[in-house]
Symmetry: C2
Subunit: 383 residues, 2 copies
């Protein structure tokens, strides 16, 4: 297997970007990434997106977007695993390079949710869950996360005021990130007093709705050496599925797909959880952030919130988690999120992240979830 | 690059299958393919589908479908390039095996269009074209193909009665195929008298709306040798894009993406057009079948219809084209079509295709188009 490197990254500011389109957002991030990589010749474009088919009524997205940045004619396809599309697209792009089919691949994630009523977007997001077994009965995506949150709180006797330390930390981190969507600090009291979305989940437990695009340029070893003095290697990666509906799971309070993907990706990279310096994980809701910390090996079961409250996971700790502000504060442009995470980890390892900088970072990991844990990709990066 | 083989194939009957779901169709084809392969342990599932997000309001399709056939936990993602999704999914699956990330990959395509009013399906299919530059102005997918048809007829002075030989041949072939959707013969007169869909395209120039699923099992060389006495090799493949909207094309009467993809795939397989024994190409409309024959190197420009009328491309000729009946008669369950084509070519090379059998078949090629030529994958198979 050929080694694969990230030779360029680009992100756009996450926000309600009413005056932008899928095309303009994608171009903004992709052209930055290609510029960062020294504008190499690109063999293939892998696009990550969840909702364009439903919201923009547009399929064939890869042809559309490749052409929009002057890459007409290149190989191009879209990869979708709902909110986990970005991580899965990087895996598809990685294997194009690792196999030798391509030397340079642009992986770009994009999502555009503004311009549509919240009700429409909420329904579109719910398509990440099981349409026949869950949505038909009136479940929303927040509702399913509320169910997991309630069970977690009861099983481990965790109070909401302790869990609320997570969004507080994320807003602190996001406050420093120039392209984060929510750049303000909040207190535990703010979280507990914010409107109920799906009891016990409150507004400040949820990632916001926003638009954005991110891109990474992957290259084989010889191309990477030519393009970049210090390319970041993708040292290991895997993606695992779980069943889509919560009711059929072996366990509801947990992320089995995260465990499977971590085990495979860590082994491939020859690291374990203790080696990881910096992490971007998928906190679409507070509960997903806490479960991810536990399943990735950074906290014992039921204790993630307590560790956050005790001051762990900040700059200088090991690992340093979601210095971008995470989905909670950087934002969650759904299909693009996994690509944002990869770009952020690469910038942390290179030392040029524009927000809070990790104090020491050689090994970084991203975790990108689709559905309520139905698809999880883990990618290990090494400087 | 590791060599990749097809060790199992499975197809379901294409039809208006009102009593089937995405789950049941996918399971039917996938379990057949896995059984055909000797039920190996599967590392990853790549799903090809275009319309579930719009019609079934279901994303996260790979997690859902992997779980439905007992493959919960495996890697799984969806690949989309509109009507070309099947071919692109095979390329993604191929690179997972060729890179060494996976040893055995199931690629399954599925589409379900019945249960919805024709108007809804027509609108969903149109999403293969450019929503902002074409659909906004009222274009349908048949309308765009009509435009290309008219220009082709004018430029090369080809009469509709000559072009109509294509659907006549496809219905002859499909008549022999037990899982084809349209199993009846038609005459040139039938084609010319069938209702106008978008002038000059008539009903019998169009592939029908239908449901179906197809699957292929890909394996690395060592796994393939263990699983199968005579696995079929994927000797070359590529996918190329073109711009989505017709108006921005360098040429409208032609398939530049087919030319690019053929050149790369033929070179990788070390074959040229004269070496090809058997072909399944993407005749969603008569014009696409004829242009494909020309762009793949089997007919001079503007002469494909004349060659068909002269009796070419039948059993015993070189190449033998669309013995399945093609999209016209086998049917076109959109996201699954490219996987049907691959399964059909593999069966022709093995000698166990249940319909019209090729007389001599060592090298086979599939061509799968997304949009009106905006994405084309070419796959070369060798016995």
């Amino acid at each position: 297997m050929r080694r694969v490197y990230v030779v360029g990254v680009g992100v756009s500011r996450v926000d309600r970007r009413f005056s932008d389109s899928l095309r303009s957002l994608f171009a903004e991030a992709s052209l930055k990434a290609l510029d960062d990589a020294g504008n190499p010749s690109v063999d293939a474009v892998v696009v990550a997106n969840m909702m364009s088919s439903r919201l923009q009524e547009q399929d064939s997205l890869a042809s559309l977007l490749a052409d929009s940045i002057g890459l007409r004619g290149r190989m191009g396809f879209k990869v979708e695993t709902a909110c986990g599309s970005g991580g899965s697209a990087i895996i598809a792009g990685y294997s194009l390079v690792a196999s030798g089919l391509a030397n340079v691949v642009l992986v770009g994630g994009v999502e555009k949710m503004s311009d549509y009523p919240t009700k429409t977007v909420t329904r579109a997001l719910a398509q990440a869950a099981d349409a026949e077994y869950e949505l038909f009965y009136g479940a929303s995506f927040a509702g399913l996360n509320a169910l997991v949150t309630r069970m977690y709180m009861m099983k481990y006797n965790v109070k909401h005021e302790v869990m609320a330390e997570w969004p507080v930390l994320m807003h602190e981190n996001g406050y420093m990130n120039p392209y984060a969507q929510l750049r303000f600090k909040v207190t535990v009291e703010d979280v507990l007093k914010s409107p109920v979305i799906a009891d016990p989940v409150r507004l400040l437990d949820c990632s916001p709705l926003g638009d954005g695009a991110a891109a990474v340029v992957l290259a084989s070893e010889d191309y990477a050496r030519r393009l970049n003095d210090a390319p970041v290697e993708i040292a290991g990666l895997w993606q695992a599925t779980d069943c889509l509906d919560l009711a059929s799971r072996e366990e509801i309070i947990g992320l089995k797909a995260t465990r499977i993907a971590c085990e495979k990706a860590y082994r491939m990279a020859r690291v374990d959880a203790r080696d990881v310096d910096v992490v971007e994980l998928h906190d679409a809701f507070t509960i997903m952030g806490l479960l991810s910390l536990e399943e990735m090996g950074f906290a014992p079961r039921g204790e993630a919130a307590k560790l956050v409250a005790e001051g762990r996971f900040r700059v200088g700790d090991k690992p340093q988690v979601n210095l971008s502000g995470g989905l909670k504060a950087r934002g969650h442009p759904v299909g693009a999120t996994g690509v944002y995470q990869a770009a952020e980890i690469v910038m942390q390892l290179r030392g040029d992240f524009p927000g809070l900088k990790a104090s020491k970072a050689e090994v970084g990991v991203t975790e990108n979830i689709g559905g309520t844990g139905a698809s999880v990709s883990i990618i290990v990066f090494r400087r």
